[in-house]
Symmetry: C2
Subunit: 199 residues, 2 copies
């Protein structure tokens, strides 16, 4: 059973347990999924006031996009934990001979890169949803204004939390050009969100 | 079936649906529950390094407290939605006669206060968990440092999101002394967290 097939209560108990997964990476993806879902809800709410056709079309498009982003983030709740489990597995590979040591190192490095991609994708998806929050807030039902603000807080926490996981994994990656490329993208994603928040 | 008995996938779909609940209030409580659960996990992780007895006792006490806070926040995921459903129900009360109007107004006001208490309690619990994050971070297993940062981001999003819900409900409460009392407490809770974040 995947994490998202489990009950909410079970998932929270799994976060509390002292098993290495699920951890912060899946938590960040979940926060993003909740945030994107709330935006989709607001975009889909009936509106008491009349709305220009083009505004309604823009709102519906934003809602459809948020639903898609939410479903991708939901999958990443599971994927982040699966990717990290592979890292843990790679560290447990035998290291008796030089050949085993080399295979283990290569396995760890490949698993770490895959485990970096999951939270990096969470950052991208949270950024994409955050970029739609202002439109959903201005065109959507004004009675749901607080839901838009909660959604934005969740998406920022998802993005920030995912960045912590990108950074921790990168810290053990030896491929310097990969590290540089990912750090550059994650820095740009975080900066884009901070700029949007203060503008 | 309560929200937290449902699967994570189902809860996310419920957030996306255009039903009025669940909304931002339950989402904020969930973020808080995830954050407190991650802190409990870090406090419970075995540590490779030796730890002084008094530090271990402090860590275990913080972990037990985080578990308790997480369970309370989990219950508030359900309670916030139940409280808001009562507000929606009160607005649907008949308003044909003066007597009905008075009963409806009283019902709405009572329901709004109860719906304010739920996110206010979420703020208090997130604040309490955030106050333990530094201790868990410094005494806990250093390999889980990123989990502590994710937990803090979730708890801040939970507190900020809950505050939005306190504010939106208070906006319709007519009891000025109640509004003043709650605004004062929620402002103090938010300020305490912001001070801690910059210190």
């Amino acid at each position: 059973m995947t994490l998202t097939e489990r009950s909410v209560s079970d998932l929270l108990a799994a976060f509390r347990s002292s098993e290495p997964t699920p951890g912060g990476g899946s938590a960040a993806a979940l926060a993003g999924a909740v945030g994107a879902s709330l935006l989709a809800m607001v975009a889909n709410l009936p509106k008491p006031q009349a709305t220009a056709d083009e505004d309604l079309a823009a709102l519906q498009a934003a809602g459809a996009r948020c639903t898609d982003l939410a479903l991708q983030l939901e999958r990443l709740v599971n994927k982040d934990t699966e990717a990290y489990d592979l890292v843990v597995g790679a560290y447990r590979m035998p290291k008796g001979t030089d050949e085993e040591k080399n295979a283990r190192t290569a396995g760890i490095q490949a698993a770490l890169k895959a485990a970096t991609e999951a939270p990096l994708e969470v950052m991208r998806l949270c950024r994409a949803a955050l970029a739609l929050a202002a439109r959903v807030g201005s065109l959507g039902n004004q009675n749901a204004a607080s839901d838009v603000k909660v959604a934005a807080a969740m998406l920022r926490a998802g993005l920030d939390g995912a960045r912590e996981n990108v950074d921790i994994n990168l810290g053990s990656v030896k491929d310097a050009s990969y590290v540089e490329k990912v750090r550059s993208e994650s820095g740009a994603l975080a900066a884009a969100v901070n700029t949007a928040a203060t503008s």
